[in-house]
Symmetry: C2
Subunit: 138 residues, 2 copies
DNA sequence: TTCTGTCTTGAGATATGTTACCATATAATA
DNA sequence: TATTATATGGTAACATATCTCAAGACAGAA
């Protein structure tokens, strides 16, 4: 685990965080790379991955490992849920109350020590509605 | 979308499904490959991927795109939730009632057409408890 | 049966996403 | 500043997933 105190404040880190704070779209590492490169053309993709991972470890940002193969990153660290468009893969926030009780229910029915939960809705965004109709999974 | 009727029942498909039905561990494609290879040593990894994807499309099995970068597969198709061990990555079922109401809540607060949801708990499995302590995310 | 067209497979090539490595550069500190 | 541990950028390596295609297997027609 990375210590917050030992993390140097480099230009790259500042800009990565700034760019992430600008958007609510939960960009992938590669999308962050594209955003940051407009201001720091010589930044390396590895630096972006390294720092996103590091910032997620320290809790500065959130790493979402939701559907789809890529990791996504979110500067909103307060607990909240997400919805993913099955058609285009876009991920948005769902502004609904956090389901407080369900961790306790889960603790009762499993042998795990519960640390948290995440709800991911699947659906069709307004751009993709119309062209597609699929059946609900659960 | 693949038609169920047009899907031939090949030895490979039978064995992939049989092996998947044997376990409750939500194996990755590669783990399925290893399991199946014990009975069909000459099967190709592509065949495993192809057929898992196909069976997921027809609804014979469930494809889980939960935390972690790899896809996992589940022969239990009835709606249910999962818990993932933060330490070893293992995924287990959580036998708790499906939260019926939350799709409607989500529909009200978003512009998406809601198709479903999935809840993923994170925690520490009984094997990993003790060595680690982490703070809850949400 | 044998033929014929279609579906499926296995093997390898390719694509995609991520991490590791290392020489150089740089922020923090004394 | 001079020092030094840490961070960077470029590239290679790796892991996962998908694509391609010739050869094989199968179902239905002849």
């Amino acid at each position: 685990m990375q210590e917050l105190t030992s993390m140097r404040l480099t230009t790259q880190r500042q800009i990565i965080l700034e760019e992430l704070l600008k958007v609510t779209s939960h960009p992938t590492a590669n999308e962050v790379y594209d955003m940051v490169r407009k201001r720091l053309p010589r930044i390396g993709l590895g630096t972006v991955y390294r720092n996103l991972e590091l910032m997620a470890e320290t809790g500065m940002i959130l790493k979402l490992e939701v559907g789809g193969t890529q990791k996504r990153f979110d500067a909103t660290v307060a607990p909240h849920y997400h919805i993913r468009c099955m058609e285009c893969g876009k991920v948005d926030d769902i502004k609904m109350p956090v389901q407080e009780g369900i961790n306790e229910i889960a603790a009762q029915v499993s042998h795990y020590q519960i640390l948290g939960h995440h709800i991911e809705f699947t659906g069709l965004c307004s751009d993709c509605t119309g062209s597609q109709q699929k059946t609900s999974i659960n």
